[in-house]
């Protein structure tokens, strides 16, 4: 970073989180309506529209968009739902497919030209999903294992020497009841946040050294910035998909754990 600043003669300034993640209202006066909000609403509309086009009137022999959406459905069913839910998978596919498609759309917004902002990099959006899953998890756990049984199964897995429980029980409680929902949301948020920072940084380098201040010394740095932007965009698409998959998979795991005691 210091080398860059020296090269740019103190004029290049790396983008700060404040600049990248704070938005003024799109319509002055309507404070809540900012770019992330717009993109979140847009994501919902796209997911609904896509699923409606594919699944509203499904055919036995699929055509066009139904093929694509079925591919997504099969992926979520076979990779996300079935490994953790087994025969209950179909019952939870509605939720898991919604989670996967929504998170994926939120994420992919980060690389769609002109939009270029991953909705999930604002903690509020992942938090909503994570909290919903958390509430559902506790509700299902209490419903299927009983209030006492749920906590007993969680904190006192059988078959361990007694003194271990002194150490294990608080850890299990903490990890399941407090840390899990937090990491569930933060993992997604932080990945998108960091990814967006990286992309913004490299594209800023390219833009600055090739357009704003084109100098013989700075031009190679600008070229590197452009190349890195391209590479990282590809990488970011992969991460965005991976995080959506992971988010849905963790939700599936939590639901599965609540339905049946793990031990």
């Amino acid at each position: 970073m210091s080398a860059l600043t020296v090269l740019a003669d103190d004029q290049f300034k790396a983008p700060s989180p404040d600049e990248l993640f704070t938005f003024a209202p799109i319509i002055p006066g309507v404070d809540w309506f900012t770019k992330p909000v717009l993109l979140a609403i847009l994501s919902s509309i796209v997911v609904i529209g896509f699923c409606w086009a594919a699944f509203a009137n499904p055919k036995i022999v699929p055509r066009g968009v139904q093929n694509v959406a079925e591919y997504g459905y099969m992926f979520v069913r076979d990779q996300v739902a079935r490994p953790f839910l087994g025969k209950d998978a179909d019952r939870w596919m509605g939720l898991l497919l919604t989670l996967f498609f929504m998170v994926f759309l939120w994420n992919i917004m980060g690389v769609i030209p002109l939009l270029q902002f991953p909705v999930a990099s604002h903690i509020a959006f992942p938090a909503v999903l994570a909290i919903s899953i958390y509430v559902l998890k506790v509700y299902l756990g209490v419903k299927h294992q009983g209030a006492i049984g749920y906590f007993k199964n969680m904190m006192f897995p059988p078959g361990l020497p007694k003194p271990i429980y002194v150490l294990l029980s608080p850890i299990e409680f903490l990890s399941n009841m407090i840390i899990a929902p937090f990491t569930h949301a933060v993992r997604l948020f932080a990945n998108m946040f960091a990814g967006h920072m990286l992309l913004a940084f490299f594209s800023m380098v390219g833009f600055w050294f090739l357009f704003e201040k084109l100098t013989p010394l700075g031009a190679p740095v600008g070229v590197i910035g452009v190349i890195m932007t391209i590479i990282f965009t590809g990488f970011e698409i992969f991460i965005q998909f991976l995080q959506a998959f992971l988010f849905a998979m963790l939700a599936s795991m939590y639901i599965g754990g609540a339905l049946h005691a793990e031990h």
Partner: protein
């Protein structure tokens, strides 16, 4: 309101882990709308279609298997029928052969009996003819002899008793000489 938002934004800028209230609201809203439309309305439809597809494929396989089983069954049936028919034909042939042999034997028997009967009848006829001829011959010869004798000796042998006695005696002699000659 404006001021509060700016304050919140400023605060958020410092700590990205603090969520915006309005984003939470929008997030909840958009999530549950999508969850309802996609999860509640659309996913059951595709699940139904997928189940139907599985059904259709499995049904097709099942139908094909059934058809194959039926064809094999029919083939087996035909084979059995064919074997049965062959066996039946062989049995009939055998029966016919036996019957033919029987009929032949019977006919032969009958023919032999008939032949025997004919021979016997012929024998009887011959015997009867012989007897008749012999009786006729006897009277004829008697008459001829008496005529001859009468003529020779010139005397009338009208007397019935004498005549008869003479003839009998003559015939007895004749018969005796006849038998000797036959022997």
């Amino acid at each position: 309101m404006n001021k509060a938002a700016t304050l919140l934004a400023a605060e958020e800028g410092a700590n990205p882990l603090i969520p915006h209230t309005f984003e939470l609201v929008v997030g909840i809203f958009s999530f549950f709308v999508v969850l309802f439309v996609v999860g509640r309305l659309l996913v059951p439809r595709i699940q139904k279609t997928l189940a139907e597809r599985t059904e259709a494929i499995e049904g097709g396989i099942k139908r094909a298997e059934d058809a194959q089983a039926e064809a094999l069954n029919l083939q087996k049936q035909y084979r059995e029928q064919l074997a049965e028919a062959r066996q039946e034909a062989a049995r009939l042939r055998e029966e016919a052969r036996e019957q033919a042999a029987e009929i032949r034997a019977e006919l032969r028997e009958e023919a032999q009996a008939e032949a025997r009967r004919l021979v016997e009848a012929a024998h009887a006829q011959i015997e009867a003819d012989r007897q008749a001829a012999f009786a006729q011959l006897r009277t004829e010869i008697g008459r001829l002899s008496t005529d001859l004798a009468g003529r020779i000796v010139g005397e009338s042998l009208e007397d019935e008793a004498r005549q008869s006695r003479v003839i009998d005696r003559f015939l007895d002699e004749l018969e005796r000489s006849d038998a000797q000659a036959v022997r």
